[in-house]
Symmetry: C2
Subunit: 555 residues, 2 copies
C-alpha cells in the first residue's frame, strides 16, 4: 500500500509516428525515472527523404530535476531499440538493462556511435528482478517474433504496473518457451494497478496462429521444390532461421546466407546459443555452386522490397553473387509493413518474370504475426485483472479497438486510458488520471541531421516531387533594358525542355514582355514580376506548377 508520503507516479508515452506508447515510455516517481524502450519509426511514403524517425524526448532533456536510473528494453526490434544511441548521447552514462540477444543488438549500435565504452549494459534473463532507482522491476518471458522478449511488472507504491511488451500467447512456440502465464497470474494475485497492453492486432478477431504452423508450410514447399529454395524474411526473425534449419536438415539442404545484417544476427545468435542449427548445416554463399540445386537453401534479406536489400536486387538482376534461375522457389516469410505493399508486390512480380516460383501469404501460411489478436488480449486482461487499463503499441484505431475489448472484459469506462503520445498519466493515492500534455511527437533524421528537417522542408520536397523546378538566368543590357544572349534555362523534374521548342519560345516571349513593361521597376520587383509571369505561363501551357526562380544580371 502507498504511504501517504509517496511521490506521484507518472507515465509518459513519447514519440511515435501514428503508433502510441510504443517507441519510448517514461515512468517517473517524484524525481526518479526509468525509461522502457527507445525505438525508431520508419517514414511514411510522403515523408520525402527522411531516413528514420526518433521520439522527441525534449521533455526529458528539459526535466533537469529528473534522475534517469536506467533504460529497460523489452526486445531487440528496431522500433524498440533503434534510437538508443540518440538517447544515450543525450543522457551520457545512463545504464542499460536488456536480455542477452537484445543487449547484443544494442551493443552494435553503440559501437557504431562510439558510445559502447561509456555505456554500461546490464544483461538479465527473463524472470530476473531488476532494482533500478526506486523501482523494483520483475521481468517475465513473452512470445514474439524475435527471441529473448520480456514484459515487465513494475512495482510502485500504488501497485504493480504490468507492461506487456510486444507479445502473443503461443502455446507451441518454436523454442518451447511460452509466455509466462504463471507470472502474470501471480501479479494478479498480488493485485495489478494497471495493465499496459500491446494493441497492434486489436482489430483482428480470434487468436494469432502459433509459430509452429509455419514449419508445416515450409515442409510442404521443401518437399515439392526441385530447384534451389530462397527464404526471404526479417533479418532479426531468428526463430524463423531455426525453422528453416529443421526443415532444411530434413530434406538434406545446406544453408547459405545473403545479406549483411542477417549474417551478423545469425552469427550473434549462434554465439548466444539461441540459433540451434548445427554448424555443418551452414555454408558460405560463394560455395553454393558446388552443390546440386536441390541441396541448397539461401536465407536472404529484403522481404519488404527495400531496393538495396538482396531480394530486390535479385528481382532486377543486380546482385553480385546470386541470380534467380527458372526452377528456383522463393518464399517470402514475412508480413508486409503498411506502406511497403507496392514495392513488395513489384518485387514478387519481377521474381516471377525471372522464372522463379514465389510463395507468399496468402498463397501459403509461410508467416504468422508476432502480436496477439483479440482473444489473446482478452486473456491477458483476464489473467492480470487490472484496476486500470492503458492500451499501447498501435495506432489510435487499434487503441480504441483494444479499449472496447477491455470494456467487454468488465473494466469500467473511466478506468481505461486511451491517450496519444505526450499525455501524462498521473497516479497517486486517489487514483489515476490524465494530467498535462508534454511534447510527445517525433523528430526526423535525414543524413547526419537530427531534427533539422521540418514540415516546411518536407512540403517543398513534395512540391518538387510533383512538378520539379525551373531556373531562368536573364542577362540584361543595363542601357537598352533588353535581354542579351540568353536566357539560360535549367529545369529538373518538369519537362524535357529539349523536346519543348514551343514552350521555350513562350518563355522567351514572356521574358521579353516583362522586360518591355519594366516602367522603372526595381531589380527586385522586376525579378518578382518575371517569376510570377513565368509561373502563370507554365501553368497555362502545361497545367503544372514547377517552382520558378529567376536571376537577372544587368550589365
Amino acid at each position: 500500500m502507498a504511504k501517504s508520503s509517496s511521490p506521484k507516479l507518472r507515465i509518459v508515452p513519447l514519440g511515435g509516428l501514428g503508433e502510441i506508447g510504443k517507441n519510448m515510455t517514461v515512468f517517473e516517481l517524484g524525481n526518479d525515472a526509468i525509461i522502457v524502450d527507445t525505438g525508431i519509426m520508419f517514414p511514411a511514403n510522403d515523408m520525402f527523404g527522411v531516413d528514420y524517425i526518433i521520439p522527441d524526448f525534449s521533455y526529458l532533456t528539459g526535466r533537469k530535476d529528473l534522475k534517469i536510473h536506467g533504460i529497460l528494453y523489452t526486445h531487440g526490434h528496431e522500433d524498440h531499440v533503434g534510437a538508443t544511441q540518440h538517447v544515450v548521447q543525450a543522457f551520457p552514462g545512463v545504464p542499460i538493462y536488456a536480455t542477452p540477444l537484445t543487449a547484443g543488438l544494442i551493443e552494435v549500435k553503440l559501437k557504431d556511435a562510439q558510445l559502447h565504452k561509456s555505456t554500461k549494459i546490464h544483461t538479465f534473463r527473463a524472470g530476473d528482478v531488476l532494482k533500478v532507482g526506486p523501482f523494483v522491476v520483475e521481468s517475465y518471458h513473452v512470445c514474439h517474433s524475435i527471441p529473448d522478449c520480456v514484459g515487465f511488472g513494475i512495482n510502485t507504491p500504488y501497485g504493480i504496473i504490468v507492461h506487456s511488451g510486444d507479445y502473443k500467447f503461443d502455446n507451441t512456440p518454436v523454442d518451447g518457451k511460452r509466455t509466462d502465464y504463471a507470472k502474470l497470474a501471480e501479479f494478479s494475485r498480488r493485485g495489478v494497478l494497471m495493465l499496459m497492453g500491446d494493441s497492434t492486432n486489436a482489430d483482428s478477431p480470434g487468436w494469432t496462429p502459433s509459430e509452429s504452423v509455419v514449419e508445416g508450410a515450409f515442409d510442404s514447399v521443401f518437399r515439392q521444390a526441385k530447384g534451389r529454395i530462397m527464404v526471404a524474411t526479417f533479418a532479426s526473425l531468428i526463430s524463423r532461421f531455426n525453422q528453416v534449419g529443421v526443415v532444411a536438415e530434413r530434406y538434406g539442404r545446406k544453408i547459405a546466407v545473403a545479406g549483411t545484417s542477417m549474417a551478423k544476427n545469425i552469427e550473434m545468435s549462434r554465439e548466444l546459443g539461441i540459433l540451434k542449427v548445427p554448424d555443418d548445416m551452414f555454408m558460405d554463399l560463394s560455395r553454393i555452386g558446388h552443390y546440386p540445386v536441390g541441396k541448397v537453401v539461401i536465407l536472404v534479406t529484403g522481404a519488404q522490397g527495400e531496393p538495396s536489400a538482396v531480394l530486390a536486387r535479385l528481382s532486377t538482376g543486380r546482385h553480385r553473387q546470386l541470380d534467380v534461375q527458372p526452377g528456383d522457389t522463393i518464399i517470402l516469410s514475412s508480413h508486409t509493413i503498411p506502406g511497403n505493399e507496392e514495392s513488395v508486390n513489384r518485387t514478387i512480380n519481377r521474381l516471377f518474370q525471372r522464372g522463379a516460383d514465389v510463395i507468399y501469404d496468402p498463397i501459403a501460411q509461410v508467416h504468422v504475426s508476432g502480436h496477439a489478436r483479440q482473444e489473446e488480449m482478452k486473456l491477458l486482461i483476464g489473467l492480470t485483472n487490472p484496476q486500470y487499463f492503458m492500451p499501447i503499441h498501435g495506432e489510435l484505431r487499434h487503441l480504441r479497438a483494444h479499449a472496447k475489448l477491455a470494456l467487454q472484459s468488465g473494466i469500467a469506462y473511466d478506468k481505461v486510458f486511451v491517450v496519444e503520445n505526450g499525455f501524462v498519466i498521473e497516479i497517486d493515492k486517489n487514483g489515476a488520471r490524465v494530467a498535462e500534455r508534454v511534447p510527445g511527437s517525433y523528430v526526423f533524421v535525414d543524413g547526419s541531421g537530427v531534427g533539422d528537417i521540418g514540415k516546411a522542408v518536407i512540403r517543398d520536397r513534395e512540391v518538387l516531387a510533383r512538378d520539379g523546378f525551373m531556373m531562368v538566368v536573364v542577362n540584361v543590357d543595363s542601357k537598352s533594358g533588353e535581354m542579351i544572349d540568353g536566357p539560360e534555362i535549367v529545369s529538373r523534374g518538369f519537362v524535357y525542355l529539349r523536346d519543348s521548342n514551343e514552350l521555350l519560345d513562350t518563355i522567351k516571349g514572356t521574358i521579353h514582355d516583362v522586360l518591355l513593361s519594366r516602367n522603372g521597376d526595381s531589380p527586385a520587383r522586376l525579378r518578382e514580376k518575371l517569376q510570377e509571369s513565368l509561373g502563370r505561363v507554365l501553368y497555362n501551357e502545361t497545367k503544372r506548377r514547377p517552382m520558378v526562380f529567376t536571376v537577372i544580371n544587368e550589365r
Copy 2:
C-alpha cells in the same frame, strides 16, 4: 469450323502498370479489329507527380492497315473506361458499345473532352448480340461491384473466345441478377476455344462472399448507432447505395450525399432506374441540420484517403458544410487499394481523434470484393471447359496463380498462356501460340501533358524529393577575380538555411577557395568546379545530396 481461307486471329493485351490484359485488349481478324475496354491506371507512390496512366496504344496507331470497328466495354470502372477520350481522339469516329450505365459514365468523359458529338455510342443490354465488323459478340451478364457489367463471347472462325470481364459468382446479388450461368454453359456446349479470365483474387482461396453479407453488417451498425452515420465508399459502387437505402429506410434515416462524383453517379443511376431508393429518402446535404442526428445517414466519397475527397477533409476539419462530431459513426465500406494503406489508416486515426467511431474491415464485414476467388475461378473454367486458357486482369503473380488453377482443372500446360502486355497471341487452324511482342507499356499523363514525362524526369523528381536543391549565384569582380556582395543562395527541400549559419560559412569558404584556385579556368569550367566542390562539401556536412546549380556573374 474455320475455313482454310480465314485470316489469322490475334489477341493483343495493351497497357497496364503491373496489371496485364486489363485496361485495353485488341482482337484482330486479318485487317479488322475490335477493342475491349480502354481504361486507366493510377500511379504508384514513387511515380512522382503523375496524374494517371493510360495504355501505350502506339501499336494500334501504327497499324494503318487495321480497321477498328468498335470499342466494347465490359463495365464502367475507371480502369476499364478511363482512357476512352484518349483513344477516341486517336481514332476519330470509332463507335462505342456499352450497357446503359457504362454508356452514361463514358458520355461524361466524352463531353468533358468535347468528343461527344463526333462519337456514336451504341447502348446494349446484357444478353444482346453485337455485330461489330466481322465479329459476332454475345454479351452476358456478370456480377461485379458496379451494376450493368458484362462479359463477352466473341465468335471467331476458330471458335468462341469467352472474356470474363471483371466478375464474381454471386448467388444472392443485391439486384437479383446472377452471373449468367446458362450462357456460359451454352458457350461450353458449342465449344469454347479460349477462356480469358479475371485473375485479381487468384491468390485468395475459397469463394468471395456475396454482396448481401454487407447488408447484415450495415444492419448491426445502424441498429446500435445513436448519432449520425456516414458511409464512405467508391463513387461508382451503386449497389452499395441501394443497400444503404434499404437499411436507412428500415431505421428511419434520410440520406444526404457529400461528394460531387458520387452525387453525379447517384443522379444518373436514379434516372436509369438502377438505383431503386425512393426519392423521398434523399435530402439535400444543407438540410441535415433540420433532422435529429439519429435520423441521418450521409454518403461520402474518399474511402481511399484521397486528400481532396470528403472523408479526408472531414478528418482534418476542412469540409465546408460538414464536420465530424463525437457520437458520429463512420463506415468505410471499401477495399483499400494497394499503395493507399497509409493515407486510409491516417484518415481513420484522425476520425477517431475527432470523436467518431469508425467501422472498417476487419472490424466488421462492411465490404466484399467484386472479384472471384479461387473456387469461382475453377467453376468458370469448369463451366466453359475451354481448349485454351489465358489469365488476364492481375499482376503477373495473380496470372501465375490463376494458371496453376487451370492446370489443376485439367488444362494442359502448353494450352495456358501467361503473357505480359504487348505479347501477341496468334490463332489459326493449327492452334494458338505466342507470336511477336509489340509495344504494350504505358504512358504517363501529368497535367495537360500526355507522354511528355519520361523516366528521366521522374528520376529527377525522386532526387529532388529526397534531398531538394540549392542554387548559388556568385557575383565576381572581373578585375580582382573576387566575390562581391554575395553569394545569393536559394535552397528548397534541403535544410533551413536560416538556421544553418555554420553551413552558410562553409559554403562561402568553398566559393572563396574555388575562386582563388581559378588559374585561368574558363567561366564554364569555373562553374563546373564550383558545383562539384559545393556538392562535396554539402554531402560531408549533411550526408545529403541536393542538386546544386551555380550562376557566376562576372562584372
